[in-house]
């Protein structure tokens, strides 16, 4: 880049804080959920296609690759859901002061971890 004008400070001059970490985590989990969504669509399409196709999906889902997709997607969905609701409150103009922003941030992290643990526990029981 050969830009001659002064540039605004780059990302690396800022100290990483809870707010910025959660912000980029929202985007990362959103991108990861694309992968989870593709897995869900494969499940639905293979279920419609017949037993052979479904067996193929089952093999993938029970392999280590499938397990990683499921476990990480459950966490990603719990976090993205919690933080998404936090975003909706911001969109409504609420919870913008620093204290509330931090409190809701910690609440979302706690919710994501507890909900992920609970759902994986339930899933373990279902198998």
């Amino acid at each position: 880049m050969s830009v001659q004008r002064p540039l605004s400070p780059h990302l690396q001059v800022y100290q990483l804080q809870l707010t910025s970490t959660l912000s980029i985590l929202h985007r990362i989990t959103g991108l990861w959920l694309c992968l989870g969504s593709i897995a869900l669509i494969c499940w639905i399409v293979s279920l419609a296609a017949g037993p052979e196709a479904y067996a193929g999906f089952d093999d993938f889902a029970h392999g280590w690759g499938g397990k990683v997709v499921v476990v990480v997607s459950v966490f990603a969905l719990c976090y993205h859901l919690g933080n998404g609701i936090r975003h909706l409150f911001w969109d409504a103009g609420r919870g913008f002061d620093l204290k509330t922003t931090y409190a809701s941030g910690y609440a979302v992290v706690a919710f994501a971890i507890i909900a992920t643990g609970g759902i994986l526990f339930l899933l373990g029981g279902a198998r």
Binding site: L31, L40, A48, H87
Partner: protein, 126 residues
């Protein structure tokens, strides 16, 4: 020095004037997806481990078929809007940006069609 008037040079350089529907639909789908995600985590996720016959019977029930169709279509729309912003933010080579934006639209369109057809087929017992 340009011979064009200042007004002529300024024209067409404003906003694209179509940002608000993007922002708004991201929120509308989010509001729809919040309760559907909870339903998905609690009711659908355990079915991913079910065998073929059980999963097929479960998905053929009208309410399950309706909710999973709503969930899948809202997810695809919401994901398309989200990935679009990520591409616009990080891809600075114009032709790659346009190629990617077009690709994700086509992929989302095909994914929505494939999912809808599959669910309808299961729901009507085809």
């Amino acid at each position: 020095m340009s011979l064009r008037t200042p007004l002529a040079r300024a024209r067409g350089l404003g906003s694209a004037k179509d940002g608000t529907p993007h922002w708004w639909m991201q929120r509308v789908t989010a509001v729809l997806l919040a309760p559907l995600s909870i339903w998905f985590l609690l009711c659908v996720l355990p079915m991913l481990a079910a065998d073929y016959a059980d999963a097929r019977v479960w998905l053929a029930q009208p309410l399950n078929a309706l909710l999973i169709l709503a969930f899948a279509l809202a997810v695809i729309y919401h994901a398309l809007l989200g990935v679009q912003v990520v591409i616009e933010d990080y891809i600075h080579t114009r032709w790659i940006e346009v190629a990617l934006l077009t690709s994700i639209r086509l992929i989302a369109f095909l994914a929505a069609l494939a999912t809808s057809l599959a669910i309808v087929r299961i729901a009507v017992g085809g």
